[in-house]
Each structure stands twice: as C-alpha cells, then as structure tokens.
Symmetry: C2
Subunit: 358 residues, 2 copies
DNA sequence: GTATTTGCTGGTAGCGCTGTCAACGTTCCT
DNA sequence: AGGAACGTTGACAGCGCTACCAGCAAATAC
C-alpha cells in the first residue's frame, strides 16, 4: 500500500486520518476528547487507528500542546519500605489515567530536591508529588510559581503549597507514648535513626508526651543519622540499655528498629513485654507475625500514595478537591509486645483503634 | 530586554545562541557534543546558557531527533523488597547519565508486560530493562525488532534478546539444599509463595537436589500462588508440619517466608537449628540480626540493577560490552539457623562463601 | 603551488502533533 | 421565515529542536 509513512516506519496521525477519511485534526480530537466528534466519525477514526495500530507520538504532542502528561514524584529514598508502599499507591492510581510517573530520589537532601524540582518544572509536568513540608525557600518559590497542581505527601503542615495529604507524626508519636503510659510504663526510651524531618517530629511528639507526665529525660533518647536497619535497632537499643538499664518501654521511630530491639531483647533474655514493652511505627506486615507480636502505629501509606495521585489527576483535569488538605490519621495497633495483660489465652490481640482516624 | 521569548516565558536555544553570538545549531551541539565546538564558542555558549538559565526542551529534542533519553524499566512488582534493591541500583546508575528512568509494573503478568512493551517501544526509548526470560512470543518478537539495547535482568537463560545479567536461581537453590544436606538434614521441606518463574526455578533446583540424594518427596513441598509475606511463611510452614511432622530442615523461597517460619518455630517451641534448620533466599538485611541468625542465599540485587543500567547506557552510546551475558553468582551465607555445630561460643557466624561467585 | 583533507559552522527543512479560528450545517427560537 | 445558537469540522501555523548537507577556513599532502 502506498500510504505515506514516517521515516521510522511508524504510523502517524495523518495516516489514520486519511484512512478514516477525516482531517488530521479531527483524528487528533478523537484521542483527546472523543465526545467532541460525531458518532460516525468517532467510529471511523477508531477502527482506522486500530487497523493501523496507531500509537500517538508523545513527544510531538508535548511539543505542540506545551504540556506533558507526566506526573513528577520526588521522594527521599527508594530503600525505605515506607516509600515503596506510597509509590505502589501512586503507580496504581496512575495506571487508570493517561499520566505517567517520573520518579526521582532526593536522598533526603533538600538541595538535591531543589535541583530536581527545577529540572522537573522545566519540562512542564502535568502535576507534582513532593515529600514533606521542609523544602528550601527557593524550592517553595518555584512550586508556588509553578502552573501545575502539586501535592505534598507524608505529613501535614500549616501552609500547603497547594494540596497536602498525610498525618501528624507528632500526634502519632504522642499516641504511641500514651499507649505505653497506659500500660504502666514509666521509663520509656526512644530509638530513632536517620532523623529526617518526620522522624524528628516523632521525637518531638515523644518528648512532649514525656514532658506532659514529667517523665522526660534526655538520656532516654538514642538517635543516629545512620540510615535505619534491623541491625541498627539492636545496636541502638544496646546503647540505650547501657545508659539507662531501668527502662520499661521503648518507642521505636520505625518497625525495622523495633524488630531489631525485639531480637536484642531475645539475645539478652529480656522478656517482652514483661520487662520491656516495645512499640514500633508504620505497622509493616511482619509486625503481626513476630513472637511476641509487635505493637505499632499504623499509617496509611498505600492509601496516601493512591489518594495523592488521584487528587492530583483530578486537579490536573480541573476538578479541584473541595478540601485540599487531607489528614489520613493513624491507629495504634495494640499487640502483645506492649500489653500489660498479656496472656497465653489471648495470643492474638485484635487490632484496636487507639486513636482518631479520619 | 527585548529578547524574543517563547510564549510560556521559557528561554529557548535560539536565545542562548543569540546571546552567545552563534547559530542555534552550534548552541545545540554544545549540549550534545561539546567537543565538536571550538574552545572559544564553547565557552561563549556555556556562559550564555548559564546566564539565561537555559534548560533544554526535551519534547522538542525527542521530536526532532526521533529518539528519547528514556530508559524503560519493566518489573513485576513494586512491593517486593528484592525489586526495590534492583531499582535502587538502576536509579543510582542512571543519575550520572543523561537518561531518565521510566518505570512500569507488570504485576507478574506477561500479557501486561507485552502491552507495556508495546507502549514503551512506540516512544522509542534509548534502552530497555526487562525482568526475566519468560516473555510472550509477541513480546520477544517486539524486543528483537526494537532498535535499542535491551537488558534482561534477574536471571540467566539460553537465548538472550540482547544483554542479560542475573544468576541461576536453579543452581542457587541447589546450593542451599546442598548446604542443608551437609549439615545433616535429610527431610528437607520447601516453602514457596507467589510461584513466579524465578521461584519456580528455585523449586526446580530444590527438587533436583533432593532427587540427587533420593530424598525427594512431593509432600515436602508446600507452595501457594498468594503473594509472599512473613505471616504467610508461618502459615505455609504450619501446613508443612501438619503434612510431614518429621522434617529437619526447610528451604524457603525467600527471606520473608523464612522469617515467618522462624517465628512459627518459636511459637511452637521448635528449636532452630537443633530440631529444624532454616535457609532463606536473598539475604535481606534483617537475616543477620534475627535470633538465631538466619542462613540465606545472597543475591547481588543492587549490583544487578546498577550494572544493568550501566551496561545499557554504555550500549546506547555505542560501546557494547564484550560479554553481553553476565552471571553475578550467589553465595550461601551460613548462619546459625542451619549450622549443625551451633554453639553459644560462636554466636556470630562469619559470612562464608559457600559457592561460586562470579 | 595546487589538491585534498579536516575541523568547525550555519542554513534549511522538517519531526508529528495541536491551538486557534473560521466555516459549515443543523436545530431551535421568535 | 429569519436569525441566533450550537455542534462539528478543517486550514493554517507553528511548538523548539536537530538531521542533513553545504560552505568555509585552516591544515596537511604531494
């Protein structure tokens, strides 16, 4: 067949239009807004496109329309389980849409974040998802000047750039400490790693809760800038014990650390929860399967990613949410590791709502 | 200043060229192949670009040059820890290059993979990274027809589409079983979940090793199509015990399952390794911190991702590797959970190389 | 000295698509 | 019946960049 083809042999919109007997612009509309076509032409273009196996050239579309169908995502880490859940939510939500995800890793550096933001914005993304609320002033200015919707995820703050979805790490930490307090713990240690802004706010919540009951002491807190790991949890806990042998509870800034603490207890033959209660943060899957099962603060990470991407797509298409700031809340999931009345007769602690959930 | 600007207010190449006093094409070359310019013009363009804050329009570049600077990555899961390590390697390697990563999730479906492949290829990626060797015939044909380098990762197979980097899951499983055998285990169970092609090949390796010593029995194998989890490991192990109470070793298709098995043993007061030895697969970080520490098969996931991306970039730029198939090998990391001579005096088993590593 | 090569530079012509606006036919209203 | 309003369609003109090829000067070869 003598149809004109692009050099690379690809089918262009013009070919589809020709086969369908319409103008290229009409064919173009079919792919972007089918309702604008009459039923007859719509069917003709559809079958022509299918027959030729037409796939739009996104670069040409982006150039002509001056915008891309890309959602930029800036996260601080690819290693962290927490972000893999969030990402999964984002990818899942994006699949139903026409938008594709462009991911970049800031490595917990706000300068790196600024650099990436500049790069992203230059390509005119359809929307942006950024982590947290601790951007540089320059980043913030760029985001405010950007002409695309932006969602900040993972936590809440006083002045959203645009939309925001997360929960209060501060309140969540306070709830965890309150839970330990209710179980009778008084000398409650804090174990934290990496100390990124969100972990820092968990620490702040811990400190405030401890001060409320006049239990706070600086030496109950053990932190490091080192990235988190199970092994590190054990090591930090060992430090804590060395400093303060009398502790009766530990609040860990995440579940990996909590697991490390649990094993360190086992290694030292410290009974959990009889001698020391343990509470983690995030409620990863394994927390329900350990022996004893581990109490944790459930955060809705998958849902956070999914909702962020969904809100963003809605906003891109002009349907801004009535409420641009969404608090996903948290739950303290009480399990054996922190219950005062642990009993063999009650091996599976049901997942209780210990605090507000929006 | 009266400089002509693009409608959106962005600086174009033409502006940079004008300020530098060169033609646009010369400025263009500066960004793609600076060595082709004389030193004087190079400096002029460079400073002009910096002064104006020029950022290239990638859509225009892609349209004009008929290729993109995108590396497509197809992986089957975002949840799995294994892939997050691989991805981290890929992203790390891509950062030094001009290429950006476009990620898609096949969800362990080769039809979905085929669909995504078609989509990717239509955008003329600079290169492609795909997982495994079990593509549909159609996918395979598309990849062979593609005019970009392709790396298959995660495992090795007889007929690479282009490049390939991984290791033999079959051999790795055989090595794990051989290790258990060497420790005196005879009734060795297999616990597997999801049963994707690679887990299936681990099972094949297990079966073959067991048959070598005439120890194989169908009922020693417990598998499920359900996605893996720690909890599931415990449940599958419970099934295995119910079927075959006399087992003295378990080879788990991954570390999550192994952790679940360990906790299930603890729950049932089965001594590890005295009564049952446990071996996992992948050697995730926590395996070295459990009590007892867990033996596993180390696979070089981060390196795999990193090397795959590096090889790909090299190939894109015309420097094809001398050897297109790379075996990254594996190591059986022997720890307490499987050692016959476990002893309190030897709490930390050093990480021994039990098998070949390339 | 002339011919050839090499290195650098610029002009022209698109890449494939969509924004804009005008034009058409149909329906509905008065 | 005349006109407005609407829905549908197409012509045109780029989007910002690079491939291609030509041109020119300097360097090298004979």
């Amino acid at each position: 067949m003598g149809r004109k083809r692009t050099k690379s042999g690809k089918i262009r919109l013009a070919e589809v239009a020709e086969l369908a007997g319409v103008s290229p612009i009409t064919a173009s509309r079919f792919f972007r807004n089918p309702e604008a076509l009459s039923v007859a032409k719509r069917a003709r273009v559809e079958s022509a496109a299918k027959e030729l196996g037409y796939v739009p050239n996104l670069a040409a579309r982006a150039l002509a329309s001056q915008r891309t169908e890309v959602i930029g995502v800036l996260i601080p880490s690819l290693t962290n389980n927490v972000f893999s859940d969030v990402l999964r939510g984002i990818y899942d939500a994006s699949e139903g849409s026409r938008y594709s995800i462009q991911l970049s890793n800031t490595r917990y550096s706000i300068l790196q974040e600024e650099r990436l933001l500049r790069l992203f914005l230059a390509q005119k993304p359809a929307g942006l998802i950024v982590t947290g609320i601790d951007q540089t002033a320059e980043s913030r200015a760029m985001m405010e000047a950007a002409d695309c919707p932006i969602v900040q995820i993972m936590e809440l703050g006083p002045s959203p750039v645009d939309m925001m979805i997360g929960f209060s790490h501060y309140d969540a930490a306070r709830a965890a400490v309150a839970h330990l307090f209710a179980q009778g713990c008084r000398r409650i240690g804090f174990v934290g790693a990496r100390m990124d802004p969100r972990v820092q706010r968990r620490l702040d919540g811990y400190v405030s809760a401890m001060k409320d009951t006049a239990l706070y002491e600086q030496r109950l807190v053990v932190t490091t800038a080192t990235p988190t790991s199970v092994t590190l949890g054990g090591a930090l806990f060992a430090d804590l014990l060395a400093r303060e042998p009398g502790i009766d509870g530990v609040f860990c800034a995440n579940d990996d650390l909590a697991l490390g603490v649990l094993f360190e207890c086992r290694r030292r033959e410290i009974e959990v929860p009889e001698q020391i209660a343990i509470v983690g943060f995030n409620d990863l899957e394994f927390m329900a399967s350990t022996v004893p099962t581990l109490t944790s603060v459930r955060t809705n990470r998958y849902e956070m990613g999914r909702t962020a991407a969904t809100m963003l797509v809605e906003a891109i298409e002009g349907r801004r949410p009535e409420e641009p700031v969404l608090d996903l809340g948290f739950k303290v999931i009480e399990r054996q590791s922190s219950l005062a009345q642990r009993a063999e007769s009650q091996p599976m602690v049901s997942e209780l709502v210990a605090d507000r959930t929006k």
